[in-house]
C-alpha cells in the first residue's frame, strides 16, 4: 500500500524534525503540534523517495527499505475491537524480530480509535489496541521494555471527516520508532 509507505516517509521526517515537541500550552503560545503523519494517506505518491533519502542515520537500512514489511507501521482494527487482523501478523512479526535484533531501539505504539463511542472509553480502547500490538511484538522477540504504549483515543484522527471510509483509517495503532 502506497499509503503505508507514505507513513514511513512522513514518519521518518517527523523523527528528524524532532519528536521533542513540548509545551505549546497556555497563553496563546503556538508551539509546534506533535503531528502524526495524519494527512499522508490522502496524498499522492512520490514520498517514498524522500523517506528513503531521509533515513539512514536513524534506524538503519532495514527500517527504511520500502520493500520491507518494516516499512509498514500502521495496524488497522475493526470497530470497537482490539483484535489483530490476520493481514497484519506478518508485518508485526517483522517488527518484533527487528526489535529483538536491535535491543537498543525504542518504539512507541500509539493506539487510536474512530470518533464513535465516548471519548473516555475510546482512550481506554486505544490503549487496548496499543497493548495488543505490543503483545504480538513481544511474542516475536521484542523486549517489553523496548516498547511504550500511548493511547490518544479518538483525539488524533488520521483522517478528518465522518463515515466508515474515514473511520476505518482512524481505528489504528501506529508504530513510531524513537531511537
Amino acid at each position: 500500500m502506497n499509503a503505508l509507505r507514505l507513513f514511513v516517509a512522513v514518519g521518518l521526517f517527523a523523527l528528524i524534525t524532532g519528536c521533542a515537541t513540548q509545551g505549546g500550552v497556555e497563553s496563546g503560545a503556538t508551539a509546534p503540534v506533535e503531528e502524526r503523519p495524519a494527512a499522508a494517506g490522502t496524498q499522492a505518491e512520490g514520498a517514498q523517495a524522500g523517506g528513503a533519502a531521509a533515513a539512514g542515520s536513524f534506524a538503519g537500512e532495514e527500517l527504511d527499505d520500502p520493500a520491507s514489511p518494516l516499512s509498514e507501521r500502521v495496524v488497522y482494527f475493526d470497530f470497537d475491537s482490539n483484535v489483530i487482523r490476520p493481514e497484519f501478523t506478518a508485518m508485526l512479526e517483522a517488527h518484533g524480530k527487528y526489535l529483538a535484533a536491535h535491543p537498543e531501539v525504542r518504539l512507541v505504539v500509539e493506539g487510536h480509535t474512530d470518533e464513535r463511542g465516548s471519548q473516555e472509553y475510546n482512550l481506554a480502547l486505544g490503549e487496548r489496541r496499543a497493548e495488543a500490538v505490543k503483545r504480538v511484538l513481544v511474542l516475536n522477540g521484542a523486549a517489553p521494555g523496548q516498547i511504550e504504549n500511548v493511547s490518544y483515543g479518538e483525539e488524533k484522527p488520521a483522517m478528518e471527516g465522518t463515515g466508515e471510509a474515514v473511520w476505518s483509517q482512524n481505528r489504528r495503532a501506529e508504530l513510531v520508532y524513537q531511537r
Binding site: 470518533e115 465516548s118 473516555e120 472509553y121 490518544y152
Partner: protein
Amino acid sequence: MMLKPNLFRLLVLPAVLALAMIGRAPAQPITIEIAGATEAAIPIAVVPFHVLGNAAPPQDVAAIIAGNLQRSGMFEPLASSDMLSRPARMEDVQFAQWRALGVDYLVIGSIQPHAGGSYQLRFELLDVYKNSRLQAKAYRVPATALRDLAHNISDLIYEAITGDPGAFNTKILYVTESRDGDKRRYQLIHADADGERPQALLTSSHPIMSPAWSPDRQQVAYVSFEGGRAEVWVQPVYTNQRPVPRRKVAAFPGINSSPAWAPDGRRLALTLSRNGNADIYVLDVDTGRLTQVTRHWAIDTSPVWAPDGRSILFMSERGGGAQIYRVPVTGGEPERLTFTGRYNADPAISPDGKRLAMVHRTDGGDRIAVLDLETGQLRVLTEGPLDEHPSFAPNGAMLLYASSRGGASRLATVSLHGRADLPLALSHGNARSPAWSPR
C-alpha cells in the same frame, strides 16, 4: 409546572398568527431551533425593554431573557415581530390583546443609562389571565453586569412560573479544537450557560479532554496530552495569577483520565490504567492518597459521583458491551444499572440523584437518553447520530451535550421537557466535552 387549560387560545391563536405571518420579514438565519415535544411549552412574551434616554445599552436584556427561556424548553417566547404593542409598565398593558395572542405571561421593563456608565433596569412579570403582577424589581448595575442581570432575571421568571429554580446564571466549560494552518489548537473554554462571553482557560497544541468542575466552581480538573499522554491537571477557574497556578495531579503509567470531583471537593474519581487495565480510582488531591475502587479486566471508565458521595457510577464493558454500573466508594461488587441497548456510556447523574443521563446507542446512532432510577423508565431525548457527553444543569431540568454531524461537533442543550440548540459564540472549531457548572 402550572399549565393553564386555554380553549380560547386554541381558537384564536391560529387567526392571529396568520395575520402576523403576512407582515413577517423574509426568513432570517435561525440560531435557535426547537425540535422536541414543545407543545407543553408555556407561551410567554418578553417585550423589548424601553430605553429611556439616548444611549443604547450594550446588551439587549429582553432578548437574552427570551433566549434563555426558549432554550429551557419550558417556554415558548413570542417573536417580538408578532407583538401588537410594546408596553413598559403594567398600567399600559392591554391584557386582552396578549390573551388574543395566546400569551400566558408577559415580561416588560425599561432600562435607563446613568452617569458613570451604569444602568437602571426595571422589570415586571405579569400573569396575563389574572391581570396580575407576579414580580417587579429594579436594579442598578454597571454595563458589564447587564448580561449577568439578564440571566438573574431569567432565573427569577423561571422560578416564579414553574416553581423550580432556574439555571441561567451559571457557567459552562468545554473544549474546542481548531486548525491553525496544519497545526491543531485545543482550548479549554469557560463561558456563560448560553455560550456567550467565551474565555480560554488553557490553550495547547495537544489534546485536552474531560473538564470537570469542582463543587465550589473554583477549580477545574481536566485531561491534557501535553506530557505526551493523557494526564490529569487541576487549575483555578478564576485567577489573575500568571502563570496560572496549575498542577499535574495524576501522571501514573498508562492513561490518566475522566476526572470527577467528589461532593467534598477534596477527592477526584479517575480512570487509571497503571495496573495495565482501565479501572476506577479515587485520588485525594491534597495528600495524593490513591484508592482503587474497581478491579476488573474489562474497561471501566467515566466515573461520576452520586450526590451523597457514597457511590460512584461508571461505564464498564464487563458484561460484554458498555453499560453503566454503580459501586460503593469503599469498593465492592458493582451493580448494573442499564439494561436497555447494547451500549450505554458517558453517565451523568442529576443533582437530586434520581436520574441517570447517558449516551444510548440505537440503530439510529448514539443519542442522549435519561433513565429514571426509581421507575426504570428510559427516555431518549436527542436524535443523534453522534451525541455524547451529557452534563446536567444544576437544576436538573436540562442537559448540555456534544453533537457531531458530518465530522463537525457543536454543543447543544436538551430540556427534559422539550429541545433546543444552544447557540454558541464560536466562530471556528469543534466544541466537545461540555460540563455545566454547579450552582
